[in-house]
């Protein structure tokens, strides 16, 4: 079966600080993304999720493995893969409109000024920034800047959109609003999206599938969790869906314990443990009753996850 995006045996290694060995950030990353799919990646800091995204973008090079998009190997950056960076990366000397137009002009060099402006305006309207188009990024709030950045990425209509923790620097209220705008613009454009996040609720609200990474170094993509909640979703109704907490508990439980246990296990067994380099992530659908997680254990995890919720305000949806 042919996948839209196929990542095979991807690894990133750096020379270790003492100069002798090599430090493996992640290895044997195998996963696929289908056309039109919204996939989130969750993992602790240092597991190499941003590196994976940069490799997909063509901004970084893998130490091993290949990325194939639409039957072609990814080599170097391309307009077919749009990127939204965590720090917005707007050009501060251009107005909001010109930042979007910058992308549009690069994508369609043959367009005249009027076409460029009209196309840019359409996407600025989709992120509700019609009234701020002439302001420079320094005159915009963090949320508005990230909206401009999202508009720029969607306006170039890439085949794959890469979002690197786009809401990481925003407060919870702003984040909630822009998440819904992102859903809206995604519904309209039917983009394929690959997004990195730290926020479990954000991942459930937005994605079709969540890839879970174990802790680095030697991180792996361990699980591919299906988010079986029908669309369209919104922040109010999604939490009342019967599967919501089953999914949420599964993700939180992975982040709290299994992400570390799996890495520790791999480290204990050392190099001689024959991990299959072609191993695909375990496919999990927590919404199903018999998902392999014992009921009792699930209840215990629920209690624990709720305690964590109190301690970790950033992971709760606003």
């Amino acid at each position: 079966m042919k996948h839209f995006l196929q990542v095979q045996g991807l690894a990133k290694r750096y020379p270790s600080p003492d100069g002798k060995g090599r430090l493996t950030v992640f290895e044997d990353a195998n996963f696929t993304v289908e056309k039109g799919e919204f996939v989130c990646v969750i993992g602790h800091s240092g597991c190499g999720k941003s590196t994976i995204l940069n490799i997909l973008a063509g901004l970084d090079e893998a130490s091993a493995g290949t990325v194939i998009m639409n039957g072609k190997e990814v080599a170097g950056p391309s307009l077919q893969r749009g990127v939204v960076f965590q720090n917005y990366s707007l050009l501060p000397w251009l107005s909001a409109l010109n930042n979007v137009a910058f992308g549009v002009r690069a994508r369609w060099p043959e367009w005249n000024k009027w076409q460029v402006t009209e196309h840019s305006m359409k996407f600025l309207e989709l992120v509700s920034l019609k009234d701020a188009i002439n302001r420079k990024p320094a005159q915009l709030s963090g949320g508005m800047r990230q909206r401009v950045s999202i508009a720029r990425a969607f306006a170039t209509q890439p085949q794959l959109l890469l979002l690197d923790e786009p809401f990481g620097a925003l407060d919870a209220l702003t984040r909630g609003v822009i998440q819904e705008e992102l859903l809206k613009i995604w519904h309209e454009t039917k983009q394929t999206v690959f997004m990195i996040t730290h926020d479990v609720d954000e991942a459930i609200l937005l994605s079709d599938r969540v890839l879970l990474m174990t802790n680095g170094p030697h991180a792996r993509v361990a699980e591919s969790v299906k988010i079986a909640i029908p669309r369209p979703r919104d922040r109010n109704s999604v939490i009342h869906h019967p599967a919501y907490y089953r999914i949420r508990n599964h993700l939180v439980e992975f982040l709290l314990s299994r992400s570390r246990e799996l890495t520790d296990h791999a480290a204990r067994s050392g190099e001689n443990m024959n991990t299959d380099p072609a191993a695909i992530p375990l496919e999990v659908d927590p919404s199903l009753e018999n998902s392999g997680i014992p009921d009792l254990a699930l209840k215990r995890r629920t209690a624990r996850a709720q305690v964590i919720d109190h301690l970790k305000p950033t992971s709760t949806s606003a």
Partner: protein, 276 residues
């Protein structure tokens, strides 16, 4: 009642000027001859008074006289202040713009390539601290033209701040902005013009502003050496004429023109500045 800071500052400024000019004026006048002149003074014909710095009133009088007809030309040693300044400005600007062209192009190259940065840096560090006038004999020997040598001296003194600032500005353009250019598949030329140049422009302009200041400092000394025309020559010529009133007047004019050049560059800097 003066509330605005600017208004108050203006008043204090004028006060300082009045006090300064007043003291200068009083001290410039010879004390009234209360006693009979000594024999020596009689022999010198009262020359002691001549050694005093001329009073501001004389300088102002000279300024009005010179500025009312700044462009007269009555032979090689008697030209209006406007003509002398125009010669100096012409030399400064031609040397300066040639330097800007070379410095910005080379600065881009050096800033974009870590290899060039490292390999050319030692030469820049050695050449930069050389006093521009030290080049003068060599320039005169090679170019064999005093006019062009003066321009060359301006070129060589104004190139370094622009070169170093351009290289630094280009090298420290934020990686994110370069990545924006890369993900949009911009050609190297378009990246240079639409991302790196605007990003580095404030730093480049700062270098240009330092350079024009240095160039204006150096032209006075260079023209004293080269002679013929220009404000530097004018100052030296009036010194030889023992016309200190004109010397003081031309010193003030050098200051005023230097300030105007700096203001022009600062206005351009304001155009390209951006807030992160």
């Amino acid at each position: 009642m003066l509330r605005s800071l600017n208004a108050r500052a203006t008043v204090v400024s004028l006060l300082f000027l009045a006090v300064l000019l007043g003291l200068w004026e009083i001290n410039s006048h010879a004390p009234a001859a209360s006693s009979a002149k000594s024999e020596y003074e009689l022999l010198m014909g009262g020359a002691e008074q001549e050694t005093r710095v001329p009073p501001p009133s004389a300088v102002i009088e000279r300024a009005v006289e010179e500025l009312s007809d700044p462009f007269y030309d009555a032979g090689p040693n008697d030209k209006g202040i406007g003509i002398q300044l125009a010669y100096s400005i012409y030399r400064v600007l031609s040397g300066y713009f040639m330097a800007a062209l070379v410095a910005i192009l080379c600065g881009f190259l050096i800033g974009m390539s870590p290899l060039m940065y490292k390999s050319l840096n030692p030469y820049i560090q050695v050449l930069r601290p050389i006093s521009p006038l030290a080049w003068m004999p060599l320039a005169l020997f090679i170019i064999k033209d005093s006019e062009a040598s003066a321009i060359f001296v301006i070129f060589i003194c104004s190139i370094w701040p622009m070169l170093i600032n351009t290289a630094f500005g280009v090298a420290s353009v934020r990686k994110d902005w370069v990545n924006v250019a890369r993900t949009h598949e911009l050609s190297p030329w378009r990246t240079a013009f639409t991302v790196i140049l605007p990003a580095a422009a404030p730093t480049i302009l700062t270098g240009m502003r330092i350079s024009i200041g240095i160039a204006w400092l150096v032209i006075v000394a260079a023209e004293m050496l080269v002679g013929g025309t220009g404000i530097g020559y004018y100052v030296w010529n009036e010194w030889n004429n023992l016309d200190l009133t004109s010397v003081i007047f031309s010193i003030l004019m050098i200051g005023v023109v230097g300030m105007l050049l700096d203001m022009a560059l600062s206005a351009v800097t304001r155009l390209v500045r951006y807030q992160e």
